[in-house]
Structures are given as C-alpha cells and as structure tokens.
C-alpha cells in the first residue's frame, strides 16, 4: 500500500484532534493526552517557534490539511498513468478528446457550429448542438492558459489530468459545504473522505476524460452555493449558485438532478413551514437566472422550459410566488377566517390552473413528455421492457449490493449515523443534505453509474457522523479533565450539567470506552484508506483500451490490440472508408483511426443502430445488402475467444438482436436461442451459427488451438468448442486480425463482376 494515503489519513485525524484541542485550549490548559503526542508536539513547536495564537494555529492546521488533501486527491488518481501510460481511457472520453482537439485547433465558433460528417454516416451529427461543451471548454481554457504561461504541454496531457484536477477542487468545495452544513471539522473530514472515495475515483482517474469528472465538481459547487444562499438570503450567493448551475448544465446531462432536487427541497421546506424570505430570494434568483443561462447551451435550449423533466422547477417557482402573495395578503387581512377563505379559493384556483396548463401543454405537445432515461430512473424496470438501447448499457444496470460496498466501504455504515446526526440538528442546510443523500442513494440503486452522484452526499453525511462522533468522544475525555480541574464550575450550566453529572458517575468506564471507540474510529478510517487505495490501483485505473492480464508465470501480459487495429485502419484504408462496428467502438474508431463510422456511442438514432444490429444478426447475403446501402467498406468486430476477454461482441450479440428486432421485426430473439439459452457450441441455433457476427468472429477460428488439451476452436471466453468451424465468407474477406485476435477487421468486397 502506498504511503501517501496513510499519511493523509493521519493528517485528517490530526485535524479532528487539532480542532478539538483548540476548543479545549480556550478552557484552562488541559493535561496532555497521550494519544495525541504528535499533534501536541506540533502545537508546542508552533507555539514556541512561531508564537502563533490558537486561532492562527487552527487556521494553519486547517489550511495545511486541506492542502494535503488537495494534493492527495490528485496523486491517488495517477495510478493509471503509472500503471499504463498517459492515455485517454474507455469510450466516451475519446469523443471528448477528439472534440477538445478540434476546439483547440479551430477555435470556439467552429466548434460551436461543428457538423461532423465522420460519424453516423450518412446522417452526420451536429456535434456543436448535441454535446455538453463544459468539459471541452474547460480543458481548452486550461490548455490555452498553460500555453499563455509558456508551458508547452500537449492537449492530451491536459485532457488526461483534467479529471484529477477537478477532483482536487471538489475536495475544497466539500470542505466548504461541510463547513456550511455542520462545522469546519466536518468539512475537513468530508474533504478527506471524498478525496479518496472509490465511488468518485471510478470516474475521475487520470485519463478518464469524461463529463462526470468536471460535473461532480459543478454539482457540489451549485449545491453548496445554493445552501449558502438559503442560509444567508444573499442575492450574491444566489447569483453565484446560478452560475454554478450554468457550469453544471454546460458540463453534464445530470444537471436534471439539480433542477429537480432543489425544487423538491424548496417544496419540503414550504411544507414543513420553513418558508422564509431567504429561501424566496435564493430560489427565485437561482431559478430564473439559472434557467436563462442554461438555455444558452444549445443542447438544452428551450427544453428547459418545455420538457417534462424541468416542469417541477417551474411549478415550485410559481408556488413560491403564491406563497409570497399569500404572505402579503395575510399581512393586509387582519381577520383570520377571511384569510382562510381566501387561502382556500386561491389554492384551489392555482392548483386547478396549473393542472389545466400542464394538461393543455402536454396534449398540445408544447411540453414534451419525460424521456425514457428519466422514466427508467423512476421505474427501474421501464428500460428493460421498453428501451433495449438504454438497458443494454452496462453503466445503466441496477446496482448490485456488492458494488455499494466496493464503492463506499465504511461510508455505507456511517451514512445512516450521519443522517441521525442531521435529524438531531435540523436546519435548512441539514435538510438539504439529507434530501440530497436520500434521493441520490435511491438513484444510485437504480443505475450503477449514479453512485457517482450519491458519493458527495454520502461523504458529507458520513463526515458529519465521523466528526460528530469524534467530537463527542473527545468531549467525554475532556469532561474528565474538567472535573479534575474545576469541579465547582459544573453546576453552572443548566440542564447540560445534569447530564454531565450523570456521566461523571461512570467516569472511568466512560473514559475507557471513549478511548476504545476513538481507536475504533481511527481503525475504520485507516481501513477505509487502505481499501480506497487498493480499489483505485487495482480496479479503477484500467484504461480498458489496453487490457492487462496475468500470464502463466505471474508476469503481466498487456493486450494492446485495440490500438493496433485502429492504427492499422488509419494506415491501410482509404481516408473516406466507412467502418461498420457495434456502436461501442464508434468513438474510438473516429478518434484513433480517423475513419467514418456508421454508429457510435452517442446513441441518438435508434433506427440507425438497429440497422447495424440487423446487419450483424442477418445471414451474410442479407447483411451484404445492408452494408452496400450504407457504403460500408470495412467491418470491425471484437472477439475475445482467444484471450478469454469476455466483453466482446459475441457476448454483446443478444443486445444487437434485441435492438435490431425492436425496429425490424424480421429479427427475432428466439431464433438465436436454444430453449431460451444462448450458446455458440454445436447445440447453438442454426441462425446463430450462420449469422454475420458469428461468422466474422469465428472465421478461421476452427483451425486454432487456443488451450492445451482442448480441441481446436475452443472459445476461451465462453469455455466451449465452437459449433461452426467451417466458415466460408462470400462477400467479405479478412483484412486484418490483431495479434491476440481481439479485433478483427473485414473488408467488404465489391459486387461480383459478372453476375
């Protein structure tokens, strides 16, 4: 385990103790605690040499802890660079990288108006109008800033390190947020927790150049600023939160969460009778300005006032006005009964009008209904039944219990404890964090990738739990010293004194218990640090475009087949060649091979994807017709039968069938199954054995010995001997197969010359 995580953890504990100590320092000087010798030494040192006041000491500690956390958050995300190289990971980041490159080369206006004819052939894609530009603009600004300062960096390095940089910034926001909802010690703990929380690291390691890397920062910033605005009732903070919201909208589609959570929060405050002018100012300013700003993003545009997902915010906005109006009327009308009648009439008409407006708007199509993605959030089974293209994405799967444990570790237990503390001290701010925590936990359960959204809330609430617990325990220890020092003063402080008197009766037991519990907390936290580091280095740092495996002798084997194949495409095919592959590889092909693709990861056109799915699941001659129509020059498939790489096209094939069958009913899923079972061996369905995907994956595979003691044509990914070893291709020919057979490229032959 790398040492930096450990040291950071000790810093965090020092922080907790340090603050505890500084508060105790205001009381008559206590006896030095044996557990905190180190921090005591530090205090003495700083006292002696710098002659700092207690407050300054505290500030110094806080700043240095924050600084260390800031650095830690950055360096723990560099595992992927150390293990592999400074490269862009996975699928979507390649698109982001390509667009950023375009932005830095051609400038903002070209980027804004970019019509990309290299993807979604022949439809093309208006890239400028169908992406969230926040990430690219951020990276480009950093890049231009560095260039301006005469740092000759490559844009790729900037892209690789954008996510870690923003993760570091998130820790700062988490600190301030924690400070706002609880106190500064909770903020410090929150910063430390979120710096290494795997749920966040999974999307923000170096190279994971995706929207989420920036968006979580923006999300937390918006929430923090909004809570600040509600707490202060200041227009400035509210304006700031509107800008935070604007940044979030520009960066990620997850902004819908904000624009629904904040109204929900406001509604809860209204219902619980916590309406205040502060809230009125904060929400109205944030909503109106945020909306206007959000509409400047081309991809959002008028959706913000028209689509169903945004209607809740608008409804709450009107409700606020009604509340304000009622307040005013109440102030004018002295008669209570008169007011009640008035209230009844107003509420009825308002609700009625709103219902009519919503009904008319929906019926006339002015208000668009909820999108499938939104539905599938509310009803986890919706996508599975209706939209296979959403259900097929691995990150849209419902979360397994184990992955909660994997991503949150002890936070999972601390979360309810934190909720308990929040409920004990209900304020506007804690109500917000509770609501954020609960809703995001629900969504995290629905979709595995939304764990990311829940992570900041979980970290903050857990930080409250840790900080409050440690503080209480420290207080217990301190009470004892108080008792020994000034026993007479305890009667002065009312009801609290009586509880302390109760505590005093079981003093030795309490003290030992407190020490034990403190040690337990430190043990858990250090375990958390260990776990996080392990997860980061082992699970979340893989670029997934370069695969690593352990060889027979325990040595590391690297499969760099993807890049090999893309490089081949770039070098050996005509520049206007069209490559057909399943949509997963679309972004990578356009970014790395620089070739036109039929479909890519921006799954905006279901029919087009279904056409490719249909081609892959048809017989070769039928597929050939489709490919001719689409001017396909090359077909690329990913095959893991030789290496045992299980997320290959054969394992994804049923989704192609389902998506293809969803649009073209000639493709029927049962044709590819035998008794409801998906198999590729001799017992497989005849259509399965002769469809294009099977043929392309297993072409010439029947001749290959993959494993000792197994017959030729033994598929290691599925552990069976394949059913069709004698595959003849008529309209396609093998063009290239990578060294480990992971990527296979076929050339589509021109039509027969004679007939």
């Amino acid at each position: 385990m790398p040492p930096q995580t450990m040291s950071a953890k000790t810093d965090a504990t020092i922080g907790v103790n340090g603050t505890a100590k500084s508060t105790s320092n205001q009381a008559p000087p206590p006896m030095a605690l044996p557990a905190n010798l180190k921090s005591d030494l530090l205090n003495k040192l700083s006292l002696k040499s710098f002659k700092l006041k207690t407050k300054q000491q505290e500030l110094l500690l806080r700043v240095s802890i924050l600084f260390l956390v800031y650095v830690l958050a950055f360096i723990t995300r560099l595992f992927s660079v150390l293990r592999y190289e400074s490269m862009i990971h996975e699928f979507d980041p390649y698109f982001n990288y390509r667009t950023t490159l375009f932005l830095t080369e051609k400038g903002f206006y070209e980027f804004w108006n970019w019509f990309d004819y290299e993807s979604w052939y022949p439809l093309g894609r208006i890239v400028g109008g169908t992406l969230y530009p926040g990430l690219m603009v951020t990276a480009a600004l950093i890049y231009w800033g560095l260039r301006f300062l005469r740092f000759a960096v490559h844009i790729r390095e900037v892209c690789v390190l954008t996510a870690p940089f923003f993760a570091s910034n998130t820790t700062l926001v988490a600190y301030f947020f924690g400070k706002e909802i609880w106190d500064s010690s909770a903020g410090l703990v929150a910063a430390a927790l979120i710096a290494i929380c795997p749920g966040y690291i999974s999307r923000s390691v170096a190279g994971s150049y995706d929207n989420e890397g920036v968006a979580i920062f923006a999300l937390l910033l918006t929430f923090y600023l909004f809570v600040k605005a509600v707490n202060t009732g200041s227009l400035t903070w509210s304006l700031a939160s509107a800008f935070g919201y604007f940044y979030m909208v520009s960066a990620w589609g997850g902004y819908v969460f904000i624009i629904n959570l904040i109204p929900l929060y406001v509604l809860v405050l209204l219902i619980t009778g916590r309406y205040s002018v502060r809230l009125y100012i904060a929400y109205n300013c944030m909503y109106v300005l945020g909306m206007l700003l959000a509409m400047q993003i081309r991809f959002v545009g008028f959706q913000h006032v028209q689509s169903g997902e945004h209607m809740a915010a608008m409804g709450v906005f009107f409700l606020m006005q009604v509340f304000y109006f009622l307040d005013w009327v109440k102030y004018l009308l002295s008669d209570k009964r008169l007011f009640e009648t008035f209230l009844r009439i107003t509420v009825t008409t308002t609700v009625g009008l709103a219902a009519v407006a919503l009904g008319v708007g929906t019926a006339s199509g002015y208000i668009s209904p909820w999108t499938g993605r939104f539905y599938s959030l509310l009803d986890p089974t919706y996508a599975k039944d209706h939209i296979p293209i959403i259900a097929s994405v691995s990150e849209h799967q419902p979360t397994a219990w184990s992955s909660f444990m994997f991503d949150f570790h002890i936070l999972l237990f601390l979360f309810p404890a934190g909720l308990y503390f929040c409920f004990k001290r209900l304020t506007d701010a804690t109500i917000f964090i509770v609501m954020y925590g609960l809703t995001s936990m629900y969504f995290a359960g629905v979709m595995v990738r939304l764990i990311l959204v829940a992570t900041p809330a979980v970290c903050l609430i857990s930080a409250i739990a840790v900080s409050a617990t440690v503080k209480n325990l420290a207080q217990l220890l301190r009470t004892k010293s108080k008792v020994t020092q000034g026993g007479s003063s305890k009667a002065a402080s009312g009801s609290k004194a009586s509880s302390k008197a109760l505590l005093d009766q079981s003093q030795p037991f309490q003290r030992n218990g407190a020490i034990a519990l403190l040690l337990g907390v430190f043990y858990l936290l250090s375990k958390y640090a260990t776990h996080c580091t392990w997860v980061t280095s082992e699970a979340y740092s893989s670029p997934s475009i370069v695969l690593a495996a352990r060889g027979a002798h325990g040595n590391k084997v690297i499969f760099d087949d993807y890049r090999e194949a893309y490089f081949w495409l770039q070098q050996n095919t005509p520049t206007d060649a069209k490559v057909m592959s399943w949509w997963d590889y679309g972004y990578q092909i356009t970014a790395m091979a620089n070739r036109t693709v039929i479909v890519d990861n921006n799954t905006w056109n279901n029919t087009h994807i279904a056409t490719v799915g249909r081609a892959m699941s048809s017989y070769e001659d039928e597929a050939y017709e489709i490919m001719r129509e689409l001017d396909v020059g090359y077909v690329l498939v990913v095959f893991g039968g030789v290496t045992g790489y299980s997320s290959d096209d054969i394992n994804k094939f049923l989704w192609m069938v389902r998506i293809g069958g969803g649009v073209f009913p000639v493709i029927k899923e049962p044709d590819y199954l035998v008794n409801g079972e998906y198999r590729v061996d001799k017992g497989a369905a005849p259509k399965m054995l002769n469809c294009l995907m099977y043929k392309l994956c297993y072409y010439r595979f029947g001749e290959l010995m993959t494993e000792y003691g197994k017959p030729p044509g033994f598929d290691r990914a599925r552990g069976v001997e394949i059913g069709n070893k004698d595959i003849k291709l008529e309209h396609l020919e093998e063009a290239f197969t990578t060294s480990n057979w992971i990527v296979r490229i076929y050339k589509v032959k021109p039509p027969n010359n004679r007939w």
């Binding site: 206006y109 804004w112 108006n113 019509f115 004819y117 052939y121 022949p122 439809l123 093309g124 208006i126 400047q296 081949w568 050996n572 095919t573 206007d576 036109t596 129509e629 020919e733 093998e734 063009a735 290239f736 197969t737 060294s739 050339k747 021109p750 039509p751 027969n752 010359n753 004679r754 007939w755």
Partner: protein, 525 residues
C-alpha cells in the same frame, strides 16, 4: 495465419481506369528480359572495375529503358485513351478453323486487330506474363476442348475477364464441360443434355438438308443500334447449335439472338419423351454479357454461326416468301464483334465537379439550401477518337440513402453535361451520383461524396417580423427599468440621477450606432 493483408484496390468501375496493358507481345519478350537484367546491372554496379565492358552495357541499358518506356506510346494496345482492343488470342480446336472461318478473322484483321492463333491445348498457352496480360481479347473457338494447355484454366479465363478484357465463347453440340463452365460463370447456362440441339419446326432454314430442323433461320434480334449497328440486319441469321438460357439472377446478360416461340431444345435423333427443359423465347442462341467492369463477353451456342459456309449461303426462312442471297451471319457477327471489342458503345465519363452558384472552385461542404451547379463530361469512343456523347437522359442524383434530388442533365453537345439545383433542407453526407445504364453502352457509375451542413449560428435571420412584439417587450422593459431606477435615484440624489440619465442617453446612442453598423445590439436575441 496471415496477419497483414493489404486491401485489394477497388476494381475500377469504368473501363478507362484499368491500368494500361503491355505493349505487344513480341517486343515485350525481348524488352523485359533484356531491360530488366541490364537495368539492374547499370544501377547496382558501383565499382567501375571492368570499365570497357560496363560502358556499352550501360548504354544498352539506357537504350532498352528508353525503348521500354516509350513502347506503351508507340504500340497500338488497349489503353484508357484508345479503348478498342488490339491483340486477340484465338484458341482453336484445330487449325482448319482458321480457313473455314476466315471471313470472320479477316474482317477482324482488316479492322486492325492483331490475331494470335493457337491450339486450345497448346502446352505453352498463357494469357499473362509477369502479371501483365498479353492480350486484350480472347476468342474461344474450341468447343470440344476438355482441358486448356499450359497455364490456362477456367479461373484464368475468368480472371482475364475480371480484369477488364473481352471474351467470345462459341459452343457446339460437342461443347465440353470446360466451355460450359466458362459460360456458367458468366451467368449463362447451356442445356445440360449433351445431345440436345435447338430445333425449330417453324423457323428452320429451307436449306436444312438433314430435315431435322436444326438449322435455324433466326431473326429475333435484340433491338439495339449500339450492339448491332445502325444498318438493320435484314436476312435471318443461320444457327445450328445448342441452346442456352440466362441465369435469372444475372442482370447483366442480354439475349442478342433469341429463339423463336416455336423453338425448343432436345435431341433431334431421339423421340421426345418428356417436355423439353428449354423452350420458346427462353432460349437464347447468342447472348452478350457486359460485366460490371465493362468487360464484354459474347456467348454463342453455335460455332458454325461464324463460319464462311453460313455467311455465304443463301437463306430462306421456312414459311417466309422472302429469300436472301446471303444470310445475315456476316453482318451480325461483324457488328456484334465491333461492339464486343469496344469499337462502339464505349462511354467515358469523368471530371465530375460541382460548385456553389457565384463561386469558383469546389467547396468541401455545402450548407442546406445552397444553390449549386453540377458538371460532368461524357464522351463516346467512335473507334478512332473520342466524340462528345449526346443524350437527353443522363441524370444526376443527390443521394443520401435515397435520392433527394434527381435531375436530368442538359448537354452543350460538346460532351459537357450540366445542371443546377438547390441543396435540400436536410443535412448529412450526400453523394452526387451519375448512374447511367443504357442498353449496349458501358455503364457509367460515378459518385462523389459531399457533406451538407446545417446553418451556422450566425446564418439565421436575426430579426423576424413575427417576433417584433417580443423585441418591443424587451426594449420597453429595459426602458422602464431605466426610468424606474432614475426616479428611485432622483429621490435620494440629484447627481446620481444625472449620471443615470447620461448613461441612458449614452446607451441609446451606442445601440443606435451599432444598429447602423449592422451588428446586432443583443447577442442574446
């Protein structure tokens, strides 16, 4: 385990792109051997030790290199610029055919063809040497050959065709499986019964001496001036041989001479026990195939069709009062061979270009609703020179999965075709497509990809009349906001009010000036 396969170059879709074939065979033999070896010595001999010997060698090498490089220009071979074939290999069963079919061969020679007669089982037979084809055309007058000699086989013949060369296959009652399989690969199926012949009890020639009505006076010719020439073939064509039919899946084959409705294919000497498999106009006597690379193939069910005897004999179709002194065979065979060897009906198109109206130079991308002009050149080979091709049915498609625009091109009668149209209101990757397939002519298939983008953000109309109430509303709001603040300030401080007023006036002037310049005052609008 072949890891790296270099992708095959796409076969050119029209003929003038095929690489120029070699100079004539005899020169090539010498030139290549001498040239290659000497060439090598002259370049890879840095040591000038045997000076006396190397100098003449080098001279010789230079000489050969020069001759070699000049040869393609000097010799009359097939090339994109002169698409007519020049060198033809004739494979015969025996050399007696050379004299019995001499009229046909002489007519070819008189048209400038260089015929090379060989026996079909000649052990030195080869169509290519060093990867270069030695011939531009192949005539298979060897129906009974079971196996070609030398390096030639069915696959080699088909490769010859697939690389853009022409082929005449004549079969007979003695047709071997080899010849039949060549035909089958070209999409034409001969009757499977080896003893079957075409019999026509109504359309036979009166001069049929055997009395089994197998000598047919066929007059069901294809109606195409391009294939059969402008002069109408009056006399029936004498045919004695086997029937074939076109494969239903083959869209490229044409029946040039087809059987009459009363014709059928059966063994003339045996009693007909079951209905014949091929009857009526399903029977093709002579077919042509124009492959996708515009190689032309002629398949005849009768070798005698080309013979001197048939060409010279008089013909009278049974039941027809008109008797002709000379059969139509000579004219038919000559005209078809002219078409076949690209003396006629060969088009070339190219120089496909387009531009935005009012601009010069081809844009890399269009915007929706742009007006554009489209040009393409089409020429026809007259046998000696390229003449402008004049037709009123050439069309261009603006195509993205389906044609969005389909326009007929107008020609200036000098080979230039032109049209102009508006880009549809759909963005995407379009293609200009000229797909011209006219009976007998080489099929033209040109396409050029061009993306069409939507409007840029600043290409929309900035102010639209219907939105004037909204502009009015926003400007009124701004004005009254100023007014409101003005009065709010005047209540407290007079100087501030003056400042406000000044600022207001300044803003109005500023906005007005900007309007005059033409820049919009509000980027948000």
């Amino acid at each position: 385990n072949e890891q790296l396969a270099i992708p095959q170059l796409r076969q050119s879709s029209y003929r003038h792109e095929t690489p120029p074939t070699n100079p004539s065979r005899r020169c090539l033999h010498l030139g290549y051997f001498g040239g290659k070896r000497l060439h090598k010595i002259s370049w890879s001999a840095p040591k000038p030790s045997p000076l006396t010997r190397s100098a003449p060698m080098a001279k010789l090498a230079i000489f050969f290199t020069l001759t070699l490089s000049l040869l393609p220009f000097l010799s009359h071979s097939f090339s994109p610029d002169t698409p007519t074939d020049r060198r033809i290999l004739v494979l015969l069963d025996d050399f007696s055919l050379k004299s019995s079919h001499s009229i046909f061969f002489t007519s070819l020679k008189s048209r400038g063809f260089d015929l090379d007669f060989k026996l079909a089982d000649d052990p030195k037979l080869s169509l290519q040497r060093y990867g270069q084809y030695l011939y531009d055309g192949l005539i298979l007058f060897a129906p009974s050959v079971e196996r070609f000699g030398g390096a030639l086989d069915v696959a080699a013949v088909l490769d010859f065709v697939d690389s853009g060369h022409d082929l005449i296959v004549a079969a007979d009652t003695t047709a071997s499986d080899l010849i039949k399989s060549v035909a089958t690969e070209c999409g034409v199926d001969f009757d499977e019964d080896p003893s079957a012949m075409v019999i026509d009890h109504q359309g036979y020639a009166v001069s049929d001496v055997d009395g089994d009505h197998t000598l047919i006076a066929a007059d069901e010719l294809i109606r195409s001036d391009v294939i059969l020439g402008k002069t109408k073939i009056e006399a029936p064509v004498l045919f004695k041989g086997i029937a074939h039919s076109l494969n239903a899946a083959n869209t490229l084959a044409l029946k040039v001479l087809s059987g009459s409705p009363s014709a059928y294919s059966a063994n003339p000497s045996a009693k007909l026990s079951s209905p014949p498999s091929l009857t009526g106009s399903a029977i093709s006597l002579v077919s042509v195939v124009q492959a996708r690379n515009n190689a032309r193939i002629m398949i005849s069910g009768s070798l005698d069709l080309f013979s001197n005897r048939y060409m010279k004999s008089s013909v009278q179709k049974a039941g027809s009062p008109s008797k002709y002194e000379k059969s139509g065979n000579e004219q038919f065979v000559t005209e078809v061979s002219k078409w076949l060897f690209h003396e006629r009906g060969h088009l070339k198109a190219g120089n496909l270009r387009h531009l935005k109206v009012g601009e010069t130079g081809e844009p890399a991308m269009y915007r929706i609703k742009d007006d554009l002009e489209f040009y393409v050149d089409i020429f026809e080979w007259s046998g000696n020179s390229w003449e402008p091709y004049v037709a009123d049915d050439v069309q261009v498609q603006f195509y993205m999965m389906s044609p969005y625009v389909l326009k007929t091109l107008s020609t200036d009668k000098k080979g230039l075709y032109h049209t102009s149209f508006k880009v549809p209101d759909v963005y995407g990757v379009f293609q200009f497509k000229v797909e011209y397939q006219k009976l007998g002519y080489t099929s033209l298939s040109l396409s050029k990809q061009i993306p069409v983008r939507p409007f840029r953000h600043n290409e929309y109309e900035r102010f639209i009349p219907t939105a004037f109430p909204y502009y009015g509303a926003s400007f009124t709001t701004i004005f009254f906001f100023y007014l409101f603040v003005f009065f709010l300030v005047i209540k407290t401080r007079f100087a501030g009010a003056l400042q406000m007023a000044g600022f207001f006036i300044f803003s109005v002037v500023y906005l007005y000036n900007n309007r005059m310049v033409g820049r919009p005052p509000f980027s948000i609008l």
